[in-house]
Symmetry: C2
Subunit: 200 residues, 2 copies
Amino acid sequence: MSAPNWLSPTIRAAAKEITFKAGQYIFRSGARTTGLYEIIQGKIRLVRVDRSGREAILQVAGAGDTFAEASLFSSSYHCDAIASTDTTLRLYPKGVMLAELERSPKFSQAFAAMLAHQVMALRTRLEQRNIQSARERIRHYLAVNADASGRTVTISGTLKDVAGGLGLTHEAFYRTLADMEAKGEIERRKGTITLKKSPI
Amino acid sequence: MSAPNWLSPTIRAAAKEITFKAGQYIFRSGARTTGLYEIIQGKIRLVRVDRSGREAILQVAGAGDTFAEASLFSSSYHCDAIASTDTTLRLYPKGVMLAELERSPKFSQAFAAMLAHQVMALRTRLEQRNIQSARERIRHYLAVNADASGRTVTISGTLKDVAGGLGLTHEAFYRTLADMEAKGEIERRKGTITLKKSPI
DNA sequence: CGAGTGATTGACTTAGATCAATGACCGTGG
DNA sequence: CCACGGTCATTGATCTAAGTCAATCACTCG
């Protein structure tokens, strides 16, 4: 999800870049695990194929994301990884990663910290999805992503992307934002949204 | 989320049990971090309070779940933890945990493995929530949770709980299941659901 | 300057939430 | 032992918010 600043120089050195064409398999279910991947460019999906031959998507990942973390601790893959577009990956080989976990407590901590933060962020997003109403969902997003002052949220990327991240269509998102602004609940400026204090 | 079989005896020994009354704060935003919690009994919620004084829920956790993993790597809390019911917790103190991470590569690996699995499971659930249609969401659930044969899913807990986990009302869930059964897509038995092969 | 994309708004439709009612089952306390 | 309260499972009726389709404007980039 984020740039891997948690990696030690040793591991960076051991990484290999690999490219895949759209549609190509990166690994298949049952195959021996190779390591942790980081996406340099492109998009991949992890899928499991169900009885009817349909793909059940486990994860979609894009540039900057990592995937197959859990494969470090398992001997074979339990899903397929497929390049959705032409893709460049960086592979951090399992052996090197495990050796480094073994050798360097510093690295272990950094790695665990990164995973713990991801767990927290994912749980929060999942909790957000439990909210039915678009308006409440957006409020949740704003409350959770507000800066230290608890007021302003900086929008990273396009509004459309944010809408997608919230599990809303961009139309619903635009509309609700417009409505919230009209009602004075928020204020919009280029790249930021500011929560207004409730008028009570 | 699961019984902490990844804990070393050293840490188990250092754990402390604490009880809270419903509504009591377990920790508050800004306070110094104490460690990782496991819920023995009861329910808690992690919340951030927004400008309008409303709670934005970051996580709801129940018996068997752990929370505040990330606090191990941070000096102060960034949210409040509140007991939703009378609750018994086990606290694994931060100092002991970090020392153990430092000392025992075995433990570091086990801890990282546990977190990596959680990350995977959470990503999968999040991906599931991107599916609009109840029917497709259920299909996804079945495909992902099928046993080795790829056919049968064992229902843990009540159907109602499963519905909740899928982000559906229990009514919608029952209805869709009934419909899928009527159409011969699945077969239901006590405690299990079996996927039928697609008729193509 | 056109093509492509984001931002925005309108109109329409629908799937799922909500409210409601019923039967089955389970534990329990008199 | 059985009546009663509670919860789960199930189905019906209704409503509405959000998805879908569609059109327009602004902006950027080669």
